[in-house]
Symmetry: C2
Subunit: 126 residues, 2 copies
DNA sequence: TAGAAATCAATAATCATTATCGATTTGGGT
DNA sequence: ACCCAAATCGATAATGATTATTGATTTCTA
């Protein structure tokens, strides 16, 4: 990997906020969190940096819940559970499906990533 | 066909358009398709009826691609492949892929549906 | 230290979706 | 058929998330 320039303080704060939570935040959630430390930060800066992190492959979109894109800073392959009532997103690290990925390759489909998402009611809502 | 006699003509046309395509259409796609037969239909009517069909459980959201919600009229359990270049969505009817079962019920999570989505380049784009 | 590049805040623009509202159509009872 | 209430609709405005623009400020580099 090429040597990467250091991130600015705000950019680092955004990335750390994404990576140090399990809640799979939206842009607005990150914005409100960062505002405590950087009161003059702009929501546009959050979006701009999320786009940048996505290009670099260090964060990814989990899903769109109630019109809001939700972000995950964990790059290890794993699945998700999305509560259809409260919108919470939970990680699921329990994967036995990697063996069947080759099925699609035969037909010319090049798989870059796989996303298994369960929908239902979480333990707080059921 | 999928026609239900208690539906209005336009409502039936919208549902049939959704069910008779494999392209997992967006609201705008449906709108443009229906306009051939009903030139005075409104985009709001498309959205209103999609919401109604979703409440009835006869269509569902597959994913959000480039900011557009994509709809599926097939209710049988199956998976999807989404091309990250052209945005096409393909059905995957494969028992092995759809037969993943619940690990989460022990912890109070009530699974209502499951969604397996692959991202990559389709055979036209790769 | 200067000049260039990166980054930012503020704000406007865009675009998908939803809400509103008055008009029109539909369907059941007479 | 006719009436009326409910369903449905088209037009349009409103909403809300995201993106683009712009000019200022900070950071990097030589």
């Amino acid at each position: 990997m090429n040597k990467r320039k250091n991130f600015s303080n705000k950019r680092n704060a955004i990335l750390n906020t994404i990576c140090n939570t399990d809640c799979h935040p939206s842009a607005k959630w990150i914005y409100n969190k960062i505002k405590d430390k950087y009161p003059d930060i702009s929501l546009g800066t959050i979006y701009r940096n999320i786009a940048l992190f996505k290009e670099e492959g260090i964060v990814r979109t989990v899903a769109t819940v109630n019109g809001e894109e939700r972000i995950d800073g964990k790059t290890e392959p794993h699945s998700h559970f999305i509560c259809t009532k409260c919108g919470s997103i939970y990680d699921i690290f329990n994967e036995e499906l990697t063996a069947v990925d080759s099925i699609l390759c035969d037909e010319g489909f090049k798989i870059e990533s796989k996303c298994i998402t369960y929908y239902g009611k979480c333990n707080k809502c059921s």
